[in-house]
Symmetry: C2
Subunit: 430 residues, 2 copies
């Protein structure tokens, strides 16, 4: 039987064997401590001279260095002072494999060094906590949609045409033709929404952006729900309930990890109920007070987003962005075509945009005009236009970027720590 540290509470008083890696060790002539990590948690193993195997005690300091893999046998005891609340009263240990000169030590390392050793850096306490939070967020996202009757219909990564221009796209030879790596599954979700009503896709997306900001990754994960017959306002309601669910569930289920990350929970707890909603022009007014050079009609920069979000203790939804700065598929506001039925959600504390979405154009004639206006080729969109030819329907959806959401909830300033193996401009290793 395998025993894991996170299940020791079930085995108090029992003799167990743990396998893992040395996180830390110290000792005197009479007692030695080893903090073992097995991935599920950290466990203090206590070796008393005379009570444990003699060889184990003698060889302790010599054999054990950081990240050595070991097997420890001992009895589980409740110990409120130990990390996790339980410790092992150890009988013996056995080295499985040594670790000499482990490169990541408790001292400070530069970010390039850490990123080059990402495969090992992942074992560090903070990185460990971030990825556990990420895993919980992924699960929360899926549970939210699955629990509401959404069907997971994944979009393809290979796409035949460059729907929004080739500038930020990765291309590849696809046998005798060229294919592009998807930047969004949305257009495909519009097709599956007509088949399943409520759908989402959840996968990696790719943007070949030559930018090095703390909010950008070359390869990032996105979840994109789409709902048939939802309008812009239904879409904002859905986004709001969704983000509340993710945040509140993560606070509840990953309290220990958020503590390791020293996250100020008082900033996350208020994220429930309805969120403030601003028309684009209302948002512009707020921005202009602090950034008078902002040009009405432009898209927001990272700084502008921070100006808006700093006004509220909940995420803010900005809607009705100018039609001119939005993609061809957005529906225009019927009362004023200058504005689109779009909405973005900005996270609190300046963590920036985490959601972008809106209502899609359902008229085939308007869509054809838009495709032309955006210098796109109508022939590339025949299948997409079919969705308007055969029982067209109002529909809305949005995309939420996973890494930004993880960064926000963890309080991590740079998205590079929110994904196991980040791909950045200039980095594709390890």
């Amino acid at each position: 039987m395998r025993y894991f540290i996170d299940e020791l509470h079930k085995h108090v008083g029992q003799k167990v064997e743990l396998k893992g890696w040395v996180f830390n060790s110290r000792g005197s002539k009479k007692i030695k401590f080893l903090i073992l990590r097995d991935g599920t948690g950290y466990c203090q193993c206590t070796f008393f001279k005379g009570e444990c195997d003699e060889t184990s005690f003698e060889n302790f300091s010599e054999d054990i260095s950081q990240e050595t893999s070991v097997k420890v046998v001992g009895t589980v005891k409740e110990e409120p002072r130990a990390p996790g609340g339980y410790e092992l009263s150890a009988e013996s240990f056995e080295v499985i494999s040594k670790s000499v000169d482990y490169p990541i030590t408790p001292k400070e390392h530069g970010i390039d060094f850490l990123m080059n050793h990402r495969h090992l850096w992942l074992r560090s306490k903070k990185q460990h906590a971030v990825l556990r939070v990420r895993s919980e967020i992924v699960k929360a996202i899926r549970d939210f949609f699955d629990g509401r009757g959404f069907i997971n219909t994944d979009a393809p990564i290979f796409t035949p045409s460059a729907c929004e221009g080739t500038s930020n796209l990765f291309g590849t030879k696809y046998f005798d033709t060229e294919a592009y790596l998807s930047q969004s599954g949305q257009l495909y979700m519009e097709a599956t929404a007509a088949a399943h009503g409520k759908v989402y896709c959840f996968g990696p997306t790719f943007r070949a952006e030559k930018s090095k900001t703390r909010r950008h990754l070359i390869e990032f994960w996105m979840v994109e729900p789409e709902v048939a017959f939802n309008d812009l306002y239904d879409n904002m309601d859905l986004a709001e309930q969704f983000v509340e669910y993710i945040v509140q569930r993560t606070i509840k289920n990953k309290a220990e990890e958020l503590k390791v990350l020293e996250r100020d929970l008082s900033k996350l707890e208020p994220i429930k109920g309805s969120f403030p909603r601003l028309h684009y022009e209302e948002a512009v007014e707020i921005i202009k007070k602090e950034n008078p050079e902002f040009v009405d009609g432009d898209d927001f920069g990272g700084g502008d987003e921070t100006i808006i979000s700093s006004q509220f203790d909940k995420p803010v939804i900005v809607h009705h962005f100018p039609t001119a700065i939005k993609a061809f598929y957005f529906k225009e506001e019927p009362k004023d075509s200058k504005y689109s039925l779009s909405c973005d959600m900005l996270a609190t504390e300046g963590y920036g945009e985490i959601i972008g979405g809106g209502q899609r154009e359902e008229s085939i004639d308007v869509l054809k005009t838009k495709i032309k206006e955006h210098d796109l080729k109508e022939e590339d969109f025949q299948w997409y236009l079919d969705l308007r030819r055969y029982g067209s329907f109002p529909h809305s959806g949005f995309g939420l970027g996973i890494e930004r959401t993880v960064g926000w909830i963890c309080g991590t300033s740079h998205v590079r720590e929110t994904i196991p193996f980040p791909r950045l401009y200039g980095r594709n290793y390890p």
Copy 2:
């Protein structure tokens, strides 16, 4: 408030508005029937002359063609004879958008025609059922691992080097260098297993194979668990429990869909408990009885897999494949280096291999020799070798292909119907 067909049982006796598409309609002078689909289910709407809105009744046949999007208002009634058990006693309907000459009719269509219209074909009853089963299987996979303390640590799609040769790889320009699209996240999961103990990745993978078989896709989804300190036998136990869980849960939760697909459940029900396990040489003996030309030491072809699986009513695990036909990272059997600590699982009824995996080599020296023997460059594997330098550990894992699993459980002969937008040799549209 939005009403969905799959929740009508909660609203018996209430007046509701449904939005969806016309699946079917028929009628006489006194009564008209419309089968509405909204993605969550199918609902019979009954219009009695004199009891419903007069215009609705008069315009019924003229306005309503297959896939027209409509709004229907009526009262929910229990009706055991209706599909789903409930029907709408309709007051009125309203056309949202017409559908003229919908290309997919109840008559037979060729497969190329259907694949070119995949964005519409998805709406058909059988395709609808397959993707609902797929969504359930995805959820079951995640629930299985999440419920057992595994952490979801996704592997990158962009990889810097071609770990197992470039022949079946898609390459892309990654700024100033070349990147390849991942064929497997396994090597990365070995790194995250050292951080989290029990991990899995679940994402799309890519193989540029110029083959047109019913089992191959260019782009397919794979889930890959990896467990620190698990050996080959632990790995087979895990694979067994995992497949039982997926199959039994899908039978239970997607009974209606499997009925639509006319799946013979008596073939799936026995898939529980331990599965037969065959050493490679035992499997070879079985194959040779029916295929005397099979060469001992070779890998199995699709036909050979069918010979084996036809002997059993449960999936079969074949283990200890010859070292010579396996990738460099497989650990050799300590008692006989001719064989590797590998295992594949073959589905029942000739659906072929659904799982491949095994125990990984943990000795850095053996691994370096293997890398050389496989004509790979050691420099490409520095980070991977680090996992053996610093606290190396026995570990095992496997990969399960989603589309083959969906095809098997649905009883669908070709994997192209098991993913929303299949990518095949010669196909990257829609």
